[in-house]
């Protein structure tokens, strides 16, 4: 469904609901020259950069917060092996909204006075016809395929996040094709029991796949925490790569991307005990009430 040179949209938020199962499949077949439009991102971008798959990147953030303030390989290669079209979250949302509304541009305050004008080739100035100072005109972005991870969907593709839904609905509306991986495919009756919770209606969804634990190592809302041990393992790999040692990265890719023949194989490579433990409630959790 995805071709070399396509623009892909990646849903989720930093280290939550990242569609890792799809991303690993994409990495496995080495789809290249991708333009990636992503909500604030985790280390999946770092790995895709390491593998040389990304040509152009539009995302407001690449890191893993307390685990890593910034992706090491992404940081090293930025502007060298790939181009960044600099954007903040709202400017990105504005690009998506311009596409959704079929408008040639929408005005924005975000880039005004910042370096975004210089670091994003798509932006222009627009006069305020009411006489105020000029604003920045943000053009639409066209997404060939959006890939999204969510809790539930029915077989028709009605998707429910059952929690925050990030930019996922906007990515879906802005995309030509939308593929969604879910923890569980549920009946249409279950979806219809709470239609208010449907975040992406089936008419926007091209394909839906049941992929339990498919967001690993990121967190999956209502299902499991992020696997910080795995993220730290990857960080070691990435830091070694940045310092010139490529063997760890090769091993990581072999072990987690290339050798597992499917999601089940990947989960076994990680170890099911680790995986299952991520689904346990943390008992030392905050406070009371």
């Amino acid at each position: 469904m995805i071709n070399n040179g396509d623009t892909i949209g990646i849903g989720g938020f930093v280290t939550t609901n990242k569609p890792w199962a799809f991303l690993r499949a994409l990495m496995r077949v080495r789809k290249k020259d991708l333009t990636v439009v992503a909500s604030p991102s985790g280390l999946e971008i770092d790995l895709m950069v390491a593998m040389g798959l990304i040509k152009t990147l539009m995302t407001p953030y690449v890191g893993a917060e307390a685990i890593a303030p910034v992706g090491p390989i992404y940081s090293k290669q930025a502007g060298k092996s790939f181009t960044i079209e600099e954007t903040d979250l709202m400017t990105l949302a504005t690009m998506l909204r311009a596409r959704i509304q079929a408008l040639p541009f929408l005005p924005a305050w975000g880039p005004v006075g910042t370096s975004l004008m210089e670091l994003n080739s798509k932006l222009r100035w627009v006069e305020d016809p009411f006489g105020g100072p000029p604003l920045v005109a943000v053009p639409p972005v066209k997404i060939d395929v959006a890939i999204i991870h969510a809790c539930h969907a029915d077989k028709y593709g009605n998707v429910q996040h059952l929690g925050p839904c990030f930019l996922d609905p906007m990515l879906a509306q802005a995309a030509e094709k939308v593929i969604v991986q879910v923890e569980k495919i549920v009946s249409n009756e279950e979806i219809r029991r709470n239609p208010l919770a449907t975040t992406i209606p089936c008419q926007q969804v091209t394909a839906v796949v049941q992929a339990p634990y498919g967001a690993h190592p990121s967190a999956s809302q209502n299902y499991y925490r992020l696997d910080d041990v795995h993220y730290r393992e990857y960080l070691k790999v990435a830091k070694a790569f940045v310092e010139g040692d490529q063997t760890l990265l090769k091993d990581y890719i072999a072990r987690y991307i290339d050798q597992p023949k499917d999601l089940a194989g990947y989960l076994e490579a990680v170890g099911m005990e680790k995986i299952l433990n991520l689904g346990l409630e943390e008992c030392s959790d905050a406070g009371n009430t």
Binding site: G63, L89, G110, T114, L119, L135, P164
Partner: protein, 260 residues
């Protein structure tokens, strides 16, 4: 034990917050979080707290086990509402206060999360990216710059790149000339000193030194000429209630007391 600089800073933040305001509590910023929660548990029970996509009221919580774990998805259990991210970022102009950091912060409170270097294709260090700050800082009613790193590497004369506008090239009307709807940065907060912006020029100015730091030390930690007022007030004393709530309800693990 004596109050620590980090505790003083948290109390400073707490005192800036009025009851009923709408404040965003970011991830990975424990000192600002402590300040906001302290206000919430004392004089600001009606705070509208935005954490991730959730809106919550935490004023009836007895205590927080781990200050670093507030802004994570488990906060969902206290949520009054969950806002679509688009709706949230659309309506930033209603937000009273939020926080920003930076790999660089300049003389006029502009901040940089993009990177360090001259040529964007040959950066010395590429930062994580602007996250939401370009739009949030242009639009929020006011904001505080927070960093633990009061160093000349961070506090530079001019940012290599700007991801969030402070007072631009300086002057009271710097932001008005750009048209920006938000109020701009009010304070720059570090555990060594609290800084504000001089009327007229909007250059960064020392407001409080927090002992054991000294004025000379603070001056040496910024890569530009800091405005030093003729007379500097001492940092106001913390009340017994503030210390009690901070230590027993907000920061039980003593994150703000570490190393003291």
């Amino acid at each position: 034990m004596q109050v620590t600089p980090k505790e003083q800073v948290a109390v400073f933040i707490s005192r800036q917050i009025k009851n009923g305001q709408y404040v965003s509590l970011g991830t990975n910023l424990p000192i600002p979080s402590a300040g906001v929660l302290l206000a919430h548990l004392t004089h600001a029970p009606d705070l509208s707290l935005n954490i991730l996509s959730y809106f919550t009221n935490l004023s009836s919580i007895d205590y927080f086990e781990d200050l670093t774990q507030i802004a994570n998805p488990s906060v969902a259990k206290w949520a009054d509402s969950v806002m679509a991210l688009e709706t949230l970022i659309n309506s930033i102009s209603r937000m009273d206060l939020c926080f920003v950091g930076g790999v660089q912060i300049d003389n006029y409170g502009n901040s940089n999360l993009i990177g360090v270097g001259q040529d964007p294709r040959q950066l010395k260090f590429r930062g994580p990216g602007p996250v939401g700050t370009s739009t949030i800082m242009s639009t929020v009613k006011k904001y505080f710059i927070f960093t633990n790193a009061l160093t000349p590497k961070v506090f530079v004369e001019k940012c290599d790149f700007i991801s969030a506008v402070g007072w631009g090239n300086g002057g009271d009307d710097a932001r008005r000339q750009l048209g920006l709807p938000g109020g701009g940065p009010e304070y720059v907060i570090t555990p060594q000193a609290i800084l504000d912006f001089e009327e007229g020029t909007k250059r960064m100015r020392l407001k409080y030194v927090i002992p054991p730091a000294t004025i000379e030390e603070v001056k040496g930690c910024v890569g530009f000429e800091l405005v030093i007022p003729d007379s500097l007030e001492a940092f106001p004393e913390l009340t017994a209630e503030e210390i009690e709530v901070l230590r027993n309800r907000v920061d039980r693990k003593g994150l703000l007391r570490e190393g003291h």
